[in-house]
Amino acid sequence: MSKLIETIQSALAKQRAKRKKESRREAKPEQKKTNWRLVGEIMAGYRRYLVMASVSVILATAFAYAVPYVTSFTLDYVIQGIDSTTPAFLLPLLTRLGGREYFVQNLYVCGICLFVFTGMNCLFTYLRRQNVALASEGVAKGLRDRLYRHLEDVPYDYHKHASTGDLVQRCTSDVDTVRRFIQVQLMEIVRTVVMFTFAAAVMFTVNVKMTLISMAFLPLLTVSSFIYFRYVRRYFTASDEAEGALSTMLQENLTGMRVVRAFGQQKSEIEKFTSLNRAYRSKTLRLIRLLALYWGLSDSVGYLQIALSLCMGVIAVYHGTFTLGNVALFTTYVAMLTWPVRQLGRILADMGKAAVSLGRLDEILSAPVESEPGKKLEPDMEGDIVFDNVCFGYDRYNDVLDGVSFTAQSGQTVAILGATGSGKTSLVQLLQRLYLRTAGRLTIGGVDVNDIEHGPLRRNIGIVLQEPFLYSRTILENIRICDPCASDEDVYRAARTASVHDVIESFEQGYDTIVGERGVTLSGGQQQRVAIARTLMQKAPILIFDDSMSAVDSETDAAIRKSLLSLRRGGITFLISHRITTLREADKILVLEDGRVTQQGTHEQLIRQDGLYRRIAEIQDAVS
């Protein structure tokens, strides 16, 4: 009974929560085939636990079924002196103990047996759950770790197109669905089968006809529970959708509160909310009514089964083919069986979900990862960088870079000017092999970048993005993230070079201020400068500033560049900027228009040519 309430509650609450998450996702075609390869992989190493759990299930069930047998034995053998219902193999043993007399004198032995058997049942139940927990949590950890690492190893392009929310959702709730499947459903199925087999085996040896009568309704219960749980799914969906509509409206109302107020529409908003709130209530009520009907009816059927077996048992006893102990045993066994059977349909219906989740995880895990080059050359990273007719496009039809050629000599600073979409960012990203060029040749120190391993290549190229990402930890840890052993003094020096030391010191917790999602939000300019300090700590020969001082005022920009240059020796620096004051100091300036280098040279050269560079310079000159 209390199990019943619990089940209804959890059916309502958990499924609702889960569906809600699922429905937020875009509808994707469900994978029909369960990926057994993945199942095998994630289970590897945990089969032992599952085997132990299964053994525990069998032992626990054996003891669980032995408990009513003790009662039945006491009633028949001890109290009534009938030994026809006691298994033959036990009789010699019982006789040696002193037969019925012994038990009559020492009835407590039966009581102790009852306690011990229950205790053993409990012990093995515990062992089952322990092993299942070890297996399912282990599998979940394995899956999480694999997913995390895999998402780090997929190419840059993958992340550009994937939605973070969707990926996080998969990595958390789908993993959880798989975990729950192993922890709850898998074992519940095993348990139901074992219980059924045990009960049937014992009952059949006692009385075939009575067994058939006592199990008459069970197939009906199983089938109807399966049908019911499939049928009720759409009502769950309807209720979830109604809740979704309500949340959406609420969210819109809250985010648009200013509009609502400024237009004086509170009344109509309340009316809208009321009707959605009402719809949600009535849709959920319909679901609850169905649940009530099912649980009420199946409850009755279960009890009717017990009543039937009791009454037929009485008749059988009357005819002398059954005993008091048998009646007690059969009614107890039937009562023990009806519950798991009623649940079975739900478990089977839920199994489909685990398969869908597994399919979604497989989709992530089967995305190809970045490939390492065949050759593993280690060039002089301070050497010249040569772009020779380099082409690149995200797809076949649109070229982002269309035959870019230039040479950056060791020690030079190369500045790039170009509009959004002209290919500046792609150009520097090719250097780090975040993308693979589609044609041409790109060498560092004479070695093709495609022949350098990712690790050495990227470690030697420091890049600062326009909207840098800081990890959710302290500023100190962020700056020395590439060199965790660096001294605080080194970190301060880098921060001073990036003109951010004083800013950090002005925070209440200084360098120990936590930034990012769980901490303080830094302004765009502060983030950029912390990222610059972080990149400086990398001590890479090649540095790339991808418009990474756009949110910093021009004076600070100049100060940073000055202290940067004073530190630089060897290696090439790339600067992407719109500011002529920044660009003019470079040894070489590239003007990029629609994926082509239209002008290159020094400031003095370019200012004399008619072109984009001069136009921009004139505009900015006129003002400053």
């Binding site: 009835l107 709130n277 209530r281 609850i288 009646v327 959710s472 629609d594 003002v623």
Partner: protein
């Protein structure tokens, strides 16, 4: 963006006053409440009666080996089963109904409260937080309230009924078998609390994992460029290891719960069998006296069933502890009072938000006066001090200045989203506190920096401020702001569904729709918070035209970013540190070569550079 779920605060004690308040909601649905109780009494009574039926059958049919009277017995038994089934259906239906009704009421009350709360509340409360209170907390609480009623009632009835029946059948045997009851209760409660603690720990670790996944995915590119894949994966492995340990610990505690309780219960069953069995065998000498076989079986059944309700009751206590924080948060939300309130007198004359009396509203011509206005936030942060400004009806005022200078505060005060801490704001010479908020706001037009649209059709959105507008009026408004061409280009024209917050439209198009919305409302006072981000040149031009149209014949306040808008203003105010630093027309301000001059030239330069570079967004897909 994905928001990691909030962690529950750990409540140590149950605060009954909070629950009492929430149970008031259950009491308002008396019919449901009473039906649930009645149905439960029946169900519990039947649950208690079942072992008695078996017991009767054993004593009257099995032991004497007769089937006389079996048919009426079977029929009665079947009838009871069916009644019990009906009882179960009734209580589930009604308890479910109660749950949904409580949730409905709480949401309804909270939503109404949200419509009244002032912006000082919204400034300090994230939308995500409110959503969590309104959606998950209310569900959780209503579920708690309705079903805990069922649980507590059934458990108590069933437990007490079992115990009572046992005493009636044989009080000595009952005393012996129930020896285990006190430790059973004690252990149940202890274990439940322990379980709750470990579950919390596991949940906490779980939300960390979610956060870590989020960070790992958002920062994937940075991780690549910094070649930190291995370190990150190692750190993540540490986190998942912690989660694994916490989850296993939590699973082990809950795995041990049931066996411990059951074993304790088995002691009682064993005692019943030993002493009861003796009572059947030798009624004369047995300690408990004569016991029938049927009674013995019934006792064994009762003993094995009894730990169920006890476990259930312990569970409820734990659940209440677990939901305590939710309950407090919901109550706090409902107890929050708005700062800006209409006085009872004005409400009486002009009507509140639900029953406005527009027939009593004085028409607004549009003169706006700030009379020595000072504004400071509750935390004491002063944004405006002694600010005075007089704007004649129909004038356009441009507000420029840096972020945090106080421009938005001026606008918010004007809209009466906030009220002055000192001084007065006069509309047509009358302090606006002598009128209702709705009076002012129904004559107000407001376009936000990031346009906000509601789901529904384009038509619905345009007539948001004037729900009774005809289709013709809607079309006219759209035409006036040059939004009609793109609307007609949509699949279903004006009846196109916008999608959640206008996901399918470009920012520029959303702007135009929000202008059309204002035009249709035809407000006397217009407030525009211009967008900082640029949109494509073509739409930009359309927006400029729309703005020009709207500014005509109404008092307008513009938090301006676009030079073209600023230049045409009647008066430009440079706001710095909550004060007017420069004031005048475009030409006047350029002449004094102050802040405005710098701002203008810098922006001019940026605009021109951007224009020269041209290019389209191919890269930032």
């Amino acid at each position: 963006m994905y928001m990691p779920e909030e962690q529950d605060f750990a409540a140590k004690k149950i605060d009954w006053s909070v629950w009492k308040r929430l149970y008031q909601y259950a009491l308002t649905h008396r019919r449901l409440f009473v039906t649930v109780i009645v149905a439960l009494v029946f169900v519990a009574a039947f649950d208690i009666a079942y072992p008695l039926f078996t017991s009767y059958a054993i004593d009257h049919f099995v032991v004497p080996k007769t089937i006389d009277g079996l048919l009426p017995f079977a029929l009665l038994y079947a009838l009871m089963i069916l009644m019990q089934g009906a009882g179960v259906i009734t209580f589930i239906r009604n308890a479910g109904d109660l749950e949904m009704s409580i949730a409905y009421d709480i949401r309804q009350d909270a939503f109404t409260r949200l419509q009244e709360l002032s912006f000082s509340f919204y400034d300090r409360t994230a939308v995500g937080y409110i959503m969590a209170r309104m959606v998950s907390d209310t569900s959780r609480l209503s579920e708690m309230i309705a079903w805990s009623l069922v649980d507590v009632l059934w458990s108590l009835l069933f437990a007490l009924g079992c115990i009572a029946t046992m005493f009636v059948l044989s009080w000595k045997l009952a005393l012996i078998s129930l020896v285990v009851l006190p430790p059973l209760i004690f252990v149940s409660i202890k274990l439940q609390k322990l379980m709750l603690k470990y579950q919390r720990e596991a949940r906490k670790q779980n939300s960390r994992i979610t956060g870590a996944f989020n960070e790992g995915i958002m920062g994937a590119v940075t991780t690549k460029t910094l070649v930190r894949e291995q370190q990150n994966a190692d750190e993540f492995g540490g986190l998942t290891g912690k989660l694994k340990r916490a989850s296993i610990k939590s699973a082990l505690i809950s795995a041990s719960f049931f066996p411990i309780i059951m074993s304790l219960g088995a002691i009682g069953t064993g005692l019943a069998l030993t002493f009861g069995g003796a009572g059947v065998l030798s009624p004369e000498t047995a300690f408990v006296g004569a016991v029938t076989a049927g009674t013995l079986v019934a006792f064994i059944t009762y003993c094995t069933q009894l730990f169920d309700p006890i476990q259930q009751l312990a569970n409820i206590l734990a659940e209440m502890l677990g939901s305590q924080a939710s309950a407090e948060r919901v109550i706090t939300l409902m107890d929050t009072n708005p700062d800006v309130v209409d006085t009872p007198e004005t409400l009486k004359k002009y009507g509140g938000i639900m029953q406005p009396k527009p027939e009593n509203w004085e028409p607004i011509t549009g003169r706006v006066t700030f009379d020595h206005v000072t504004f400071q936030y509750k935390n004491g942060e002063r944004v405006l001090s002694d600010f005075s400004l007089d704007v004649a009806a129909g004038q356009t005022i441009a507000l420029v200045g840096e972020t945090g200078a106080g421009k938005s505060t001026i606008v918010n005060l004007l809209c009466r989203f906030y009220e002055p801490s000192e001084g007065r704001i006069l509309i047509d010479g009358t302090d606006y506190r002598e009128r209702t908020q709705l009076w002012l706001q129904s004559s107000l037009g407001y376009v936000l920096q990031t346009p906000h649209l509601f789901s529904g059709t384009i038509k619905d959105n345009i007539r948001f401020g004037k729900p009774d507008a005809t289709d013709e009026e809607v079309r006219l408004a759209a035409r006036l702001v040059h939004a009609e061409p793109f609307i007609l280009a949509q699949e279903k024209g004006y009846d196109t569904e916008i999608g959640e917050s206008g996901a399918r439209l470009s920012t520029g198009q959303k702007q135009l729709l929000s202008f059309a919305r204002v035009v249709l409302k035809d407000p006397r006072i217009f407030v525009l918070d211009e967008a900082t981000s640029s949109i494509d040149t073509e739409t930009e031009q359309l927006i400029q035209n729309a703005i020009t149209h709207i500014l005509k014949d109404r008092t307008s306040f513009i938090v301006a970013h676009r030079l073209s808008t600023i230049r045409t203003a009647d008066r430009i105010l440079v706001i710095r540190g909550g004060e007017i630093r420069e004031s005048g027309t475009h030409e006047e301000l350029l002449a004094i070569k102050g802040y405005y001059y710098d701002l203008y030239t810098q922006q001019f330069c940026e605009d021109r550079t951007a224009a020269s570079l041209g290019g389209q967004d191919k890269e930032d897909a």
